[in-house]
Symmetry: C3
Subunit: 271 residues, 3 copies
Amino acid sequence: MIKQASSRDKKTIVLITDFGERDYFVGLMKGVILNINPDVNIVDLTHSIPSFNIKICDFVLSNCYHYFPKGTIFVVVVDPGVGSKRKILLVKTKNYYFIAPDNGVLTSVLEKEKPFKIFSVENKKYFLKKVSATFHGRDIFSPVAGWLSLGVPCEEFGPSVSSFNKLDIESPKIDNDRVIGEIVYIDKFGNAITNIGINTVKDYIKDKQLKLKLGDNEIPVVLRNSYSEGRKDEIFLIEGSLNYIEIASNKLPLAQKLNAKEGERIEIKWK
Amino acid sequence: MIKQASSRDKKTIVLITDFGERDYFVGLMKGVILNINPDVNIVDLTHSIPSFNIKICDFVLSNCYHYFPKGTIFVVVVDPGVGSKRKILLVKTKNYYFIAPDNGVLTSVLEKEKPFKIFSVENKKYFLKKVSATFHGRDIFSPVAGWLSLGVPCEEFGPSVSSFNKLDIESPKIDNDRVIGEIVYIDKFGNAITNIGINTVKDYIKDKQLKLKLGDNEIPVVLRNSYSEGRKDEIFLIEGSLNYIEIASNKLPLAQKLNAKEGERIEIKWK
Amino acid sequence: MIKQASSRDKKTIVLITDFGERDYFVGLMKGVILNINPDVNIVDLTHSIPSFNIKICDFVLSNCYHYFPKGTIFVVVVDPGVGSKRKILLVKTKNYYFIAPDNGVLTSVLEKEKPFKIFSVENKKYFLKKVSATFHGRDIFSPVAGWLSLGVPCEEFGPSVSSFNKLDIESPKIDNDRVIGEIVYIDKFGNAITNIGINTVKDYIKDKQLKLKLGDNEIPVVLRNSYSEGRKDEIFLIEGSLNYIEIASNKLPLAQKLNAKEGERIEIKWK
């Protein structure tokens, strides 16, 4: 049961960046936002996207945004091109707003959120007075999010644009006896989240004998229903919470065991 | 002086987990909560409970909860059994609510918060529509906390239960000339918090010559009144902020010095 | 464009400490604040000031505070003298409040925020009932911030004082052909922020051939306009977001490359 959001509800601004937890960058963004709208919820989705890793940010954002309230404004700052001539996009979809550099980081989210309108953020009236060449998250993204949360219409921030940069994201390849995908994200527990959607392969792998190929290792694996079903020291597959196949090992970080890395190719074979 | 909390005060939901700071798990929990109640304070107590360490979570929670406002809802997700048949508990005490897996993590808190009522969280009406087997923190704990903060009565979430799982927590042993306890938690500064309550031993150790035994080391120590009283490079005892004996060393992480570890046995001897 | 803050706006309390992210210290401070004022914004500026490093805290705070709304209360807990007889200061400037130990941590902020009034926080009525000797952040700083945010006047917390401790902060030295400064802060991306204000040297270094001396290394450098202008593997200078010269290297942490450290002396030569 989800409460019907009302337009008078307090607005939420979500931050997702590669700024890490230890510096003052995120705190400054919050200061700038609260200076404009002191009555908004600011939520950290994560600040630990690996530095400049647009692809991982695209993956995390596109699998998480729909858990947030309608009307939420997402501020996405993984921005290796800061200070260059890359555009800053403001995207309005049916239920959400996204502010992000035009570097492909919204590729997957906009696949899911069609139709949408895109604006190029250019109106300096809504920027900080002094805009640095190194921290647009503070000087442009945050004040724009603040004003947007106060009800300033998207058209105010700049002209609408019809195209934007996209990442070239490879889908997993399904053959007769195997699926080839990659590890997209390794979480704190050492579970390796792949790009293989559970629904694409469930029928193939159900009740089959499975082998996982990862680097030079090829090991037999089972599809478990929960982490706690995994046996001691076993490496197993599981339907992860983002609906992708995860490679897990019970209470022992997988990455240490198999030297798994984000971006690494994997195969799951069945017979 | 503490303000008298009023029932119209904004509610607070506190999160304590072993999810770490770097992933999107905590952000998702906040999104789900705000989707139900956008006008609630969400506070991170800590997300750095060591993975699956129920005992440390029990210690931290039971020594911290009473600093929060009356009516606070604590969401406790240290949950190695997620997806198994373990129950999810909702506990109502005189002043607080706790939502936690039935794995013993509430043992010490419920020692202190008697009397209480326990409910088994089972009413799917208050869960997310799709419940994963790997992330009940997002799919069950968070929405239940959100609805509870809106005033849904505890009885709505499931039947009341009369028993729950408890940890077997060893108390320190006091002899004629020594107390035997253990290190429960090592903080960021390297101070080692023991399970030896200051009040249980203060009369014994006051103005006595003390020795600390830790592993193979036995070193003379003094009970200091503040960190700044400690001498350069000295290892000393102090009454920590949670009212337990702490082993500290001035501006130099103790753990590095003595290789102290959480769970390690210590002795303090006097004569 | 910045909205004109109104006195009815929700108040903001900003925390800056050396407590790190992993312990329960910061969570407890928030609990104590919300217990007094449940309707306040609490923002983490950073909790990763290196342990006891008053100088870095002074630098970060004094370059960040003005991004926050008028009326913001800054709670500064880098406090190696906790439990000793050091004073706790409450400073009121035209637009802000600062609560901090009297150890010099407000030196640079008060250079910029003249005139100001200082009070010594002594009125136990506004402390927690039990004050530990090890965690004044929870027992004194937080409740005082909570009450202040509710409108209790500064005079209530203790007597006004006329002097306070200052750090001896060395300014960069500009000669005919060089400026000598130091690295104050290394950020998550490995950029080294110096204490050399861009405005003090811009005219000297503009369009000049530059050399950077750092330890035993002396390397030719260019002043770039943005990170993305830097060439692959190049080490370059840039005007950082806090308006100081930064030493950066494109997508490769500088500190690893040159073994740069906070506090290290650097020279920039021109001809």
